[in-house]
């Protein structure tokens, strides 16, 4: 038996993809992905219309989808994160149907429960055999973990593996196995692995980032969670990664070993694993090529599915085992609600990813952010787009003070005892406005361009088209 289809077109024909169906993609190749564009180009040529694209994330490289939308090939989008020209076009109202924004845990929940039905899943497979045994660690486009593709492979009606590295049967290791895959297609290249690099992987030189990170590490210590077996996740952004750096220094100084690090994994976490500062890495997605190398070679660097990572609908997901998560924000309001989806002008430039999942799961959720980001105060009365609800956020750490969610009275006392600069979040907001002046509010039309679904499936906010954004 052999599942290799002669061409991508042949595989799509075999899948019986029709107008109005839903296709899915995973985003481990991030901004280096070729598969999304390639598939939609083929679908367009085949004359199929009104397709819903459920992609775990879309990046600047996916700009050509704008044309697919204009041509009527794509009618709807369902994503956890979206940035670049396509995201801006969506903000400007290119789609009639609002985009559904989910979290990395909410997407597998929706897929498994059937509220997000996938007709055909396209798996960008860095290596596959002719039967569809796939891994992400071999081949010219190795991207490491394939975690987010696993729910798609399990639940889609049809599964097409697109690979540029066809290996003799049986392939190993196996991340997605032959029992789930219908067809395998060989193409020239599925992507450029250097495009997977996310955020900054070097620790910042910015002194303000280090001040914030220093406070954040102090917060973790004062919370009492900095002890043997600590588990944590940090983002790849400047202050977030710097916090990991300061936390690491504290762990070394105190001789503490962590149980696991999780998330989008970077070389920084790989170093911690190799230096024996954490026992394991739980990896749903690699953020750089050091991580790809490590997940291939180190048995303590573990690949897990999107469901394992963050799905609230299963019998236990890993975010619930997190002690500490350190996250960024583009805006936070005085109720501690966080926006990581729209920018200060209301234009889409991101999404929850695992933000709201880890915030809900971790014992301690810390938001690290510059109080002023190029003059704009980070603290507002109300965020433009609510992505992570305030009752799951414990502490906001800025360079000018630390605000504790008033619901966390004990934590507030501990931080005060530790002589951290604890302030009311309203005071922080006032401090920012005193320095920068009060920003003029952005106005919106009543056209809904996106719906933000919380991880449990409830609608947490809507995204409106800003006024005067006709480009």
């Amino acid at each position: 038996m052999n599942k290799v289809a002669a061409s991508l077109r042949k595989a799509i024909e075999l899948s019986e993809l029709k107008d109005g169906m839903t296709i899915s993609f995973h985003h481990h190749l991030r901004n280096g992905d070729y598969v999304v564009n390639m598939v939609l180009d083929e679908i367009s040529k085949m004359g199929i219309r009104d397709i819903n694209v459920a992609a775990s994330s879309l990046f600047p490289v996916h700009e050509s989808l704008i044309q697919n939308i204009k041509d009527g090939v794509i009618i709807g989008l369902d994503v956890n994160y979206m940035s670049g020209p396509l995201a801006r076009a969506v903000s400007h109202g290119i789609l009639d149907k609002p985009v559904t924004f989910r979290s990395h845990g909410g997407r597998p929940r929706a897929i498994h429960e059937g509220s997000l039905k996938i007709d055909v899943a396209f798996i960008a497979a860095p290596s596959s055999d002719a039967m569809g045994n796939i891994n992400g660690v071999e081949g010219p486009s190795a991207c490491g973990s394939l975690g987010y593709a696993i729910p798609d492979a399990l639940c889609a009606k049809k599964v097409i593996a697109v690979t540029d590295y066809l290996v003799p049967y049986p392939n190993s290791p196996i991340s997605i196995d032959q029992t789930l895959v219908d067809w395998v297609v060989k193409v020239d290249s599925i992507g450029d692995p250097s495009g997977i690099v996310s955020g900054t992987t070097r620790v910042t030189k910015d002194p303000i980032g280090h001040i914030i990170a220093g406070y954040a590490a102090e917060v973790i210590q004062a919370s009492g969670l900095l002890k043997e077996g600590i588990s944590f996740q940090t983002g790849a952004g400047g202050a977030s990664l710097a916090t990991a750096f300061h936390l690491k220094e504290k762990m070394i100084a105190k001789g503490i070993k962590g149980s696991f690090g999780m998330g989008g994994i970077t070389g920084f976490f790989v170093d911690m694993l190799e230096e024996g500062l954490v026992e394991k890495l739980i990896d749903v997605q690699c953020f750089d090529l050091d991580a790809v190398k490590s997940i291939k070679n180190n048995p303590d660097h573990v690949e897990v599915s999107g469901s394992f990572y963050a799905n609230p609908g299963v019998k236990g997901c890993a975010v619930d085992n997190l002690d500490v998560v350190v996250l960024g924000a583009t805006e936070i309001d005085t109720q501690f609600n966080v926006n990581v989806l729209t920018d200060s002008n209301g234009i889409i430039m991101g999404g929850s990813g695992g933000h709201s999942d880890t915030a809900a799961g971790a014992k301690l959720t810390i938001i690290v952010a510059n109080l002023l980001r190029s003059r704009l105060p980070i603290v507002l009365d109300k965020v433009i787009t609510k992505v992570t609800p305030g009752d799951t956020v414990d502490v906001l750490v800025t360079e000018r003070g630390v605000a504790v969610n008033p619901q966390r009275k004990e934590l507030m006392d501990s931080l005060k005892d530790a002589k951290l600069p604890v302030m009311d979040i309203e005071e922080l907001k006032a401090a920012a406005e005193k320095i920068a002046g009060k920003p003029r509010e952005i106005s919106f039309t009543d056209q809904v361009v996106g719906i933000v679904e919380y991880r449990d499936g409830s609608i947490i906010d809507k995204i409106y088209k800003p006024t005067g954004s006709e480009r």
């Binding site: 002194p207 001040i211 360079e399």
Partner: protein
Amino acid sequence: MPTTMIFVPGNNPAMVQNAGILGADSIIFDLEDAVSPDEKDAARILVRNALRSVDYGSCERTVRINSVDHPKWKEDIAEIAKGNPDSIVLPKAQRMETVEMVQGALEEAEDGQRSIGIIPLIETAEGVERVFEILCCSPRIKTVIFGAEDYTADIGAKRTKEGSEILYARCRILNAAVAAGVEAIDTPFTDVNDMEGLKEDVKVAKSLGFRGKALISPRHCKIAMEIFAPSGEEIEYALKVIKTINQAEKEGKGVVALDGKMIDAPIVARARKVLKLAGMEGGNHE
């Protein structure tokens, strides 16, 4: 009485606006080495505007002007005085005459409301030899900083992390400062990433008697603060000393001993100093 004084490049708005939160007691806005020759005008205008409008909290605000051999040093003073800083830092201070000249320029520029201090930066062989007379020549001088980079260049020595080549200058400046009733601040440690080297360097400075350190990296602030802060043992002993003499005063005793050692005036003075440094002013805390 600063423990840490941080240099901030005077033409960098991001650093200038955030200088108050870097963790140092004192800010030195730098118009000299950190500013390129064709941006000197922009830097002094930027720093003057910032001094007027940015809230630097409890930080002492000082400005390092260009040395008096720079053709526009007087413009620095004229411009900066309008921002009313606490002090100016005078680089390459090496004679009384230099200080007096700068003092004259300050008197001209000041609005008469408040006198701007002068912090000589001793960084030449001649400056080290004349340090006592320099420190004594103006009541505006309350603090002195040692600058080892220019000094070692001047004497033709190689700058090392161990710093044996600057031991003489450090001791000479410190001794002169104590004799003149001026606080002495040690030279910056210039390797931004070598935290262990920094710790050793700060420990040496403290052991020689320096009361603080100039810094070039915000990441050095915390370490320097921690080392200069009195240790738990020092605080405990100081509290005991104060308690004992308070008790003695109440009981009308003239002479008292603690742990078999007589407590005399210098011991009491040192105890008060330790408590002040520890933020326990007055020493009345139990």
